[in-house]
Amino acid sequence: MIVRVQTEPFDLATEVARLYRDKPKVGAVASFLGLVRDSNEGDGVHTLTLEHYPGMTEKSLEGIGREAFARWDLLDATIIHRIGTLHPTEPIVLVAVASGHRGEAFAACEFIMDYLKTRAPFWKKETTPEGERWVDAREHDDIAAGRWAT
């Protein structure tokens, strides 16, 4: 399993090929690419800046990957997340999973993305014509938030 957090772009073909090249047990590679869009909630997005928690980020991504390996019969996986300032149409995240059969590859790839979206310490800030703003979490998880009431 490869986990990387980086400013630089990544190369999809290289990353996916690494999961199946010379690996004749691999029958399926499911992958997901997340990209910067030019609009969010109606406003134009000029740039997107990703902040993260160095140290915890890598640990959480490795934990997410291990959890996927525990749940499904996987042969390999790659998780790459970019940080810093990105522009519309630029890739943000790649999750690619290799398995013998497609069902496990799909399930694990989607699981890792869902988990990453709610557990990995990344935060997005958008620059729009109206200025800068932090992106709100899509899941307004009031129950979890309420656990912090003291």
């Binding site: 997340g34 990703l50 902040e51 993260h52 928690y53 140290g55 915890m56 640990k59 959480s60 997340h81 943000i92 995240v93 993305m113 990453l116 979206k117 709610t118 557990r119 990995a120 310490p121 990344f122 935060w123 997005k124 800030k125 932090w134 992106v135 709100d136 979490a137 899509r138 899941e139 307004h140 998880d141 009031d142 979890a144 938030a145 309420g146 656990r147 912090w148 009431a149 003291t150």
Partner: protein
């Protein structure tokens, strides 16, 4: 008790603070207690860390709950819900 506290994203900007070394007073022995103590620092702290705000915390780089116990030297992080991916 000496602790390292990190703030991220909107909270980092609001508090004007990325990280700090703290010496928490006696009685602060879990994350809930730490947050209650931080709220007394001023309006921004009281508002952002109010019980109905959706902030999250990590203890030694693992997601944590209010009941998580603190010990000398722990690294605590306070941040908004994550939005990566």
């Amino acid at each position: 008790m000496k602790l390292k506290i990190l703030y991220f994203a909107r909270l980092r900007e609001r508090f004007g603070l990325g990280s700090e070394a703290l010496d928490a007073p006696a009685g602060v022995d879990d994350l809930a207690g730490l947050v209650a103590w931080l709220r007394q620092r001023g309006p921004a702290w009281a508002e952002e860390l109010a019980p109905d705000r959706p902030y999250r915390m990590a203890l030694n780089q693992e997601m944590a709950t209010p009941e998580s116990s603190l010990k000398e030297g722990d690294e605590v992080a306070v941040f908004p819900p994550v939005t990566g991916g």
